[in-house]
C-alpha cells in the first residue's frame, strides 16, 4: 500500500465517518476587545489522539487551549467534550488538566504535595493519594526527589513534576502548553519520545500547543496549522508536509521552493505548468487547479536532484548555475540560480562518503524532479 510519508498508521479515526468526535470546536470565536484571537473556528479531535496546534505566536493556539481548560469563555460558538457543552463550566469542574508553559509548580509545596494537590481536591482518601503519587513519581522517574521543593530541581525535573501533576487525576484530556519550550535541545528530543510513550501508556487524549514544527511533527497524530485565529489545515504530519493545501502551510512547515505560474494545459493524468519566467513543469496531480488558473507549484528541496548533466530520463529538468553550497555532514544543500533568475534550493543526502558528481560554486548544473514530487497550490 502506498501512503504519504514513510510511516503507516493504523490509528486514524479521522478517516472513519462513524468515529465519534471527542472534542469539538463548533464555530468558535473569541474576541479580546477589538482583537479577534480565534475566528469562527471549527475543529474535531478524537479520543486517544495526540493532537498538536501549531502556529506562530499570536495565532490563537493558546487561546484555543485556554478555552478548552475553561480560563476563557468563547465569545461565540460551542465547545463540546464527549458530547457535553462546556459553556459555563468553571475550570475546576472540567475533566481536563493542563500542563503550563511556566510549569506553574507551587513553590511552597514539595514535589509530592504538588502532585497530590489535584487528588486532594477531589476528596480521594489519603492512602489512595499516597499510592497514586508514588505511581506518578515512578512514571516520571523522580522517586528520590519526592521531598524536594521546586526550586531544588533542575529544569528537566520540574517539567516532569508538572507533567506528573497534570496526569495524576487521570483527566479525559491533557492540555500541554509549549511543554518542552523551556528545555534545551537535547533534553527536548528525549522528552518528546517520553511524552509519546506516556500518552500510549495512559491512553489519554493529548492536545499540545507548540510553535516548534519539529516537535509537532515528531509527536502528533494530527496537526492543525493555525494563522490569525483560523485553522489553515488539519492533517497528519506526512500530509502536512507532503500535501499542503495552501501556500501558507507549505511555507510554514519545512523548506520549500515555490514556482509562480499558470496552468497551461490540464488532462486527466498530467498538468502542464508554465512558469512566470517561461520554465515548463509537468505535474501528475494538478489538484483543483483548472486550465488557465494562476497557481504556485511547491516542491521540497530533498525531492530535487542536482546534477552536472541533464538526466536522460528526467521529465522536469531546469538548467542553471550553482550559486551556493552548504555541506552539513549528513546532507549537502545546494542553491541553484536557474537561467530565468529563480533560486532553487535542493538538498542531497550524502549516502556515500565519496560523491561521484561533485559540484561547486559557479558550476553549470541541472535540477530535476519527478512529476509527482511537488504539489500545485491554488491558495
Amino acid at each position: 500500500m502506498k501512503s504519504l510519508g514513510s510511516i503507516r498508521r493504523d490509528f486514524a479515526p479521522w478517516n472513519d465517518p462513524n468515529a465519534k468526535p471527542y472534542i469539538q470546536f463548533d464555530r468558535v470565536t473569541k474576541k479580546f476587545g477589538d482583537f479577534t484571537a480565534v475566528n469562527n473556528l471549527s475543529l474535531t479531535i478524537f479520543e486517544r489522539e495526540f493532537f498538536a496546534l501549531l502556529g506562530a505566536s499570536g495565532c490563537g493556539k493558546s487561546t484555543l487551549l485556554r478555552m478548552l481548560a475553561g480560563f476563557e469563555e468563547p465569545t461565540a460558538g460551542r465547545i463540546l467534550l464527549d458530547g457535553q457543552d462546556l459553556r459555563g463550566i468553571p475550570p475546576y469542574k472540567r475533566p481536563v488538566n493542563m500542563m503550563f508553559q511556566s510549569y506553574a509548580l507551587f513553590p511552597h509545596m514539595t514535589v509530592e504535595k504538588n502532585i497530590a494537590f489535584g487528588l486532594k481536591q477531589e476528596g480521594m482518601p489519603a492512602p489512595d493519594i499516597e499510592k497514586r503519587v508514588a505511581e506518578m513519581l515512578r512514571l516520571v522517574k523522580l522517586e528520590q526527589f519526592a521531598k524536594r521543593k521546586p526550586h531544588q530541581l533542575s529544569g528537566g525535573q520540574r517539567q516532569r513534576v508538572a507533567l506528573a501533576r497534570s496526569v495524576a487525576k487521570r483527566p479525559k484530556v491533557l492540555l500541554l502548553d509549549e511543554p518542552l519550550g523551556a528545555l534545551d535541545k537535547k533534553l527536548r528530543e528525549e522528552t518528546q519520545f517520553e511524552l509519546m510513550d506516556l500518552q500510549q501508556e495512559l491512553g489519554l487524549t493529548f492536545v499540545v500547543v507548540t510553535h516548534d514544527q519539529e516537535e509537532a511533527m515528531t509527536m502528533a497524530d494530527r496537526i492543525a496549522i493555525m494563522d490569525k485565529g483560523e485553522v489553515m489545515q488539519v492533517a497528519t504530519p506526512a500530509e502536512i508536509y507532503e500535501a499542503p493545501t495552501s501556500r501558507f502551510v507549505a511555507h510554514f512547515v519545512g523548506n520549500v521552493n515555490l514556482f509562480e505560474g499558470r496552468v497551461a494545459e490540464r488532462t486527466a493524468g498530467t498538468t502542464r505548468i508554465t512558469g512566470a519566467t517561461g520554465a515548463e513543469i509537468l505535474v501528475d496531480n494538478g489538484g483543483d487547479a483548472s486550465a488557465g488558473a494562476d497557481i504556485v507549484f511547491a516542491i521540497r528541496p530533498e525531492k530535487i536532484k542536482v546534477s552536472s548533466k541533464k538526466p536522460a530520463d528526467a521529465v522536469n529538468a531546469l538548467e542553471g548555475e550553482v550559486y551556493d553550497v552548504a555541506y552539513l555532514g549528513d546532507m549537502t544543500v545546494y542553491h541553484v540560480r536557474l537561467d530565468d533568475g529563480q533560486i532553487v534550493r535542493a538538498s542531497a543526502l550524502n549516502a556515500a562518503r565519496v560523491s561521484d558528481d561533485p559540484l561547486t560554486w559557479n558550476d553549470r548544473a541541472w535540477v530535476s524532479f519527478r512529476p509527482d514530487a511537488g504539489v500545485v497550490l491554488t491558495r
Binding site: P91, Q152, S154
Partner: protein, 272 residues
C-alpha cells in the same frame, strides 16, 4: 577596584557614621549614668533600668503601645492586603486610578492633617477618645503602607499558579487560601512588621486621637521630656533600640541564610 583606604575615605566614613549614630550612642551611654543629671557623667550604673520597671506610668504606656501596635497592624494588614489584591487583580473597573491614588495618598499626607481630621471625625460622631480611637487611627494610616508592600509582590505573582490550582479542581476561595496566600505571605509579614513599627513610634496622630487612660509610650516619653529628661527615659529608649536592633539582625541573618541555602539548592539541582 581601589582597596586602599585613603584619608578622604576614612574621614568621610567616620563623619557619616558619627552623624547617624552619635546621638544614639550618647543616649545609650547616658542610660548607664549614675548621676541624675542627664548631661553630667557620674559613673556607671544600671539603677535606671531597675527603677524603669517600677515606673508604673511608663510600664502602662508600654503595654498600651504594644496592644495598639499588634491590633492595628493586624487589622491594617488584612485591609491593606485586600486593597492590594483588588487594585492588582481588577484592573478594568471604573475609577481604578482614583481608587489607587486614594489608597496611597495617606503615604504623603502630613501626619498633622491625618491626626486633625481623625480627631474632627471622632468628635463629630461622638466617639469617646481612648484606646479604641488610637487603634482606629493607626489602622487608617498604616493600611496604605501594607497595601504598597503587598501590591509590589502581587505584581510579580505568576497568575498561572492560581490557574493551575483551579485547573486541578480547587475553587477560587480554596485557591486563594492554599496557593496565593502562602506564596505572598513573606510580603504580608513584612507589611505587618512595617505597620507595627509605624504604630510603635507614632506620636503626632496618637496625640490627636488618644484620650485619658490610653497614653502610648512615645506620648509618655514626650510628656516626661518636657518636664526634663531623666536617665530613666534614656534607659527606656535604649531598651527600645535593643529590641529593634535584635529584630533587624535576626531578620537579616534569616534572609541571608535562606539566600545561601537557595543558592546551594540550585547548584545541587544543576548537578542533577
Amino acid at each position: 577596584m581601589n582597596t586602599t583606604w585613603s584619608r578622604f575615605n576614612i574621614s568621610s566614613i567616620v563623619l557619616g557614621f558619627a552623624f547617624l549614630y552619635l546621638p544614639i550612642v550618647l543616649l545609650i551611654v547616658f542610660s548607664f549614668n549614675e548621676s541624675k543629671l542627664v548631661t553630667v557623667w557620674g559613673g556607671f550604673s544600671t539603677k535606671w533600668y531597675v527603677s524603669l520597671f517600677h515606673n508604673q506610668g511608663l510600664m502602662d504606656a508600654t503595654w498600651v503601645t504594644a496592644r495598639v501596635g499588634v491590633i492595628s497592624a493586624t487589622v491594617a494588614t488584612v485591609l491593606g492586603t485586600l486593597a492590594a489584591i483588588t487594585l492588582t487583580r481588577y484592573t478594568r473597573f471604573k475609577g481604578r486610578v482614583l481608587f489607587s491614588g486614594m489608597v496611597f495618598a495617606p503615604l504623603v499626607m502630613p501626619e498633622v492633617i491625618t491626626g486633625l481630621s481623625l480627631l474632627l471625625l471622632f468628635v463629630a460622631v461622638g466617639l469617646d477618645r481612648g484606646f479604641f480611637t488610637v487603634t482606629l487611627a493607626h489602622i487608617t494610616f498604616t493600611m496604605c503602607f501594607v497595601a504598597v508592600v503587598v501590591q509590589s509582590r502581587l505584581v510579580s505573582f505568576d497568575r498561572s499558579l492560581e490557574e493551575a490550582a483551579m485547573d486541578l479542581g480547587a475553587p477560587p476561595v480554596k485557591t486563594f487560601f492554599q496557593i496565593t496566600l502562602p506564596v505572598i505571605m513573606p510580603a504580608i509579614i513584612s507589611g505587618w512588621m512595617l505597620a507595627f513599627t509605624l504604630s510603635l513610634d507614632d506620636l503626632v496622630i496618637a496625640s490627636f486621637t488618644s484620650g485619658p487612660g490610653a497614653t502610648t509610650l512615645p506620648m509618655k516619653i514626650y510628656s516626661q521630656v518636657r518636664l526634663g529628661v531623666t536617665p530613666e527615659i534614656n534607659a527606656a529608649c535604649t531598651i527600645l533600640i535593643a529590641v529593634v536592633a535584635v529584630g533587624v539582625i535576626i531578620a537579616s541573618i534569616a534572609n541571608k541564610r535562606r539566600e545561601v541555602q537557595r543558592q546551594r539548592d540550585e547548584q545541587a539541582a544543576q548537578r542533577g
